[in-house]
Each structure stands twice: as structure tokens, then as C-alpha cells.
Symmetry: C2
Subunit: 267 residues, 2 copies
Amino acid sequence: MSRDARPLGVFDSGVGGLTVVRELRRQLPDESIIYLGDTARVPYGNKSAETVVRFAREDARFLVERGVKAIVIACNTASAHALGALREEFPVPVFGVIEPGVQAALRESVGGRIGIIGTAGTIASGAYQEALRRERPDALIMAEPTPLLVPLVEEAWLDHAATRLILDEYLAPFLTAGIDTLVLACTHYPLLREAIGAAAGPAVRLVDSASACAAQLAMAFGGGELVSGLPPGRVELFLTDLPRGFSSVAGRFLGGGVGNPKLVTLE
Amino acid sequence: MSRDARPLGVFDSGVGGLTVVRELRRQLPDESIIYLGDTARVPYGNKSAETVVRFAREDARFLVERGVKAIVIACNTASAHALGALREEFPVPVFGVIEPGVQAALRESVGGRIGIIGTAGTIASGAYQEALRRERPDALIMAEPTPLLVPLVEEAWLDHAATRLILDEYLAPFLTAGIDTLVLACTHYPLLREAIGAAAGPAVRLVDSASACAAQLAMAFGGGELVSGLPPGRVELFLTDLPRGFSSVAGRFLGGGVGNPKLVTLE
């Protein structure tokens, strides 16, 4: 099988999805990536399902018009609400972050006591809970929204006393319930992995949907013949708004320089 | 002068501007109000000036098409970036929250040591700082973004240990500098007034742009003859997205029931 040189298309409500791009570059280094961050309308996590589906459809159309071979919804809220609609409407494979996160949680959890933290939208959608229950009906499943974590990450308070206090409060009911696995169901949360791990304690395994998603893509696209001498994949960034300080925030998520993003308007 | 029965038009990026509506109803009880919350694109505070002006123009057009007699920009970020543009483009008077906040701060501050807290967008715009410097060039003016306060208000953690810790950290440089007045330059912050007052201490006077703005409207529109027997003003709510839990959040901001909001799409 020879390699399909078309880029992978990744979209997110903002910059959080760059944690998925970071993992894709690690696991599929020669794939080119087009990333769309809908920074003009970020966040999606506190908006209704109807609005999120409308935004996700516009994001996906933008990527398909640029000739991508697959769409990655690197946003948990959009994956929860729009995966089915996008799979029906677009002619390329569509990947979300929820299925891979669920599969990883099922692999990691020994005792079947699984917690999920995410935005209000992701948790209220019930997408993780239902998928886990379908696969493992006997599991204890507990999900709570943790809406302060995204602003804490964007403020870069990754190791701050207030962050620890907030995490202790958010995680207390999970620890009381004796979970053995915690799913970080938001692309921002991998940046808090250390603080979350410290608050959860060594008995709780952390599952990160971003790297689980990248692993699924690697299975789908990593099997092709690697042409030696191929230049490493390019990452092209499109944004619907260019906020102040974008490069430094984006660099934290991507784990490296982000180049010059291009500003676009969706319709 | 007889009373102009057309409604006042108020817009905000989301529900925060309802603190302005609350004050308008207190100070101008017989005025009808049309409120537009751009909840599909909320927040504006971390977006670029160009994008905020584009959104504000669409918001204002929506209100003008509904026959309002004045536009109130009940959003500090939009006031900072778009007041001039909207005043030029629309045929009705346009009020922002910054000028009234600045005037109130100048009245309250005895020693001319004024602090300002707001979103990243409001603070980076320099609008408060410049207006204060223009009016009182000898003042000490200090402004810092406090981006975690909006999510704390939306989480309703108004009196939480983490909120106190975060406020202590945010206010420390202001207290070191010896400010005598602190401007709450974001419509969400009046809900934290008590916690901010406790953290700032009794020597610091708090100025709230929402009530200062309503007072300016009361001067502009309160002079007319009140027709006795007039029904109390109605508040009509339009939103670009209807998020989960909207009524309870909106009720906290408005200080009472909000009725049924109507969902609209702007173009």
C-alpha cells in the first residue's frame, strides 16, 4: 500500500486540539496536518448541542474543501455532539476523541471503576458514559464537569495552590467512590496531567483522550509504506480569530513553535 | 418632554450584561428593554479587537432593526473596542460601560490611586487606563487582567476557598501599590463584590461599571414626564445560543426570573 500524501484535517474549538496534533506528530511524523481552530467562537463546551453541530459542520467543510483525507474532531464537545452528523455528511473518514478514550479506559481499568472529567457540554452529552456502559455494563461510571480547569490551563496556573485546591474539590467525590481510572475528557487537561495525577493519587490511572485518538489514527494511517527521504509532515494552522498571545499559548499545547497561523472566516 | 416609548437596546457577549439590565430596571423601572446576549460566541474578552468589532456591529444592527431608541454596550471588551465604530455607524445614541466607570472612579478616588481589573481584552485595550490618564494625569493607574473570575462566577463559586485564594493573588500587587479605588471592569464581577471587597480590605472603594452605566442612562432618559398608570417596562431576551442551565445562571445576574428567551441567528 502506498502512502496517501493528502493531509490529515484536524479541528477544534480553539487551541486545545493542538495536544492531539502534538501526539499525531509523534506517532505519525511524516503526515502533513491542516489544523483549524475556531478561536472566534471558542469555547464550545458550554454551548447547546444544536449550536455545536452547526459550528462543527462549518469546521469540517473548511477542511474537506482543502482536500484532507480524514477529519479528526479534536474537541470532546464536538465529538460528543457532531460525530454522527459529520460521518453521514462528509466523504472522508471522521475520527473523534471519545471512542479512543473509551477504549483506552476499558484497557486501563482493572476493577471497572471509571471516572470522567470534562466540560459541562461533554459531560451533559452522556457520550462517554453511554459508550462505557455499552461496552462494560457492570462498571461503576461516574462523570462530573470541571469547568474551571480550561481557564486554569489558559492562565498557565499548572502548578498553583488554587489549582491544587480546585482539583482536590473536583476529585473528592471520585476518590470517595474509589475509582481506579480517570478519563481526561478535554484536550486541555493533558497539560494538567501532573497536577491531576498528584490530586488523584497513585491508585488512579489517567487516560488521555488526545493520545488515545492519535493512536487510533496511527493504526488507520500508519500501515502504509514509508517512502524514505520524505520530508517530515508540515502543520498548517488556520484560525477564525488571532487572539493576543496566541503563539505562546499554542506553543504550550503543541510543545513547540507553531509558525504563522492564517486567519479565515467560516460561513 | 414626553416619554419616548421605544425600548432601550442592551447587548453583551453573554449573560453578564444582565447586571446592567438589573441596574437599569432599578433606576429606570418603566423603560422597556430588549437584551441580546451573543451566547453562541461568548466570551469576547479573549478575542482580537477586529473580531470583537465585527461581532458588536452585528449585535447593534439586530437591536436597531427592532426599533430601539438607544444602544447600551453592556460588555467591557466590546465597549473598549467598538464604541467609536458603533457611534459612527448607527443613528441612535450608543452608551458604553467604560466612560461611566471612569467617571465613577474619578469621583470615588480621593488619593488618585486607581486599580482596574477585567478580562484580558479589556485590560489590553488600555481604554480605562487612557481615559483615566486623560482626566487625571497625576493619578497612579494600575490595571491587571483577572481571567479566572468569570469562570468562577459562572461556576457560582462566589464564596469558595479557591476564589479567596485567587483573589488574594490577583489583588496582591494592587494592595502593595496602595490603591484607594478598584474598578470592576467586567459585568460578571459585581456578583463577586463581597469577596473582592473582603480581599481588598476596607481602605479600597469598589466601583462597578454596570451600575455607573445605568446611572448615566437614567440621566439621559429619566428626565421625561412619567405617565402615571404606565405598565412597568418589559424585558425581552434574545440569545444566539440557549445553553443548559441558562435560566438559573441568568437569574443570578438579573436578580429575578428571566422569562423565555428567544433564540436568534445573527448575520
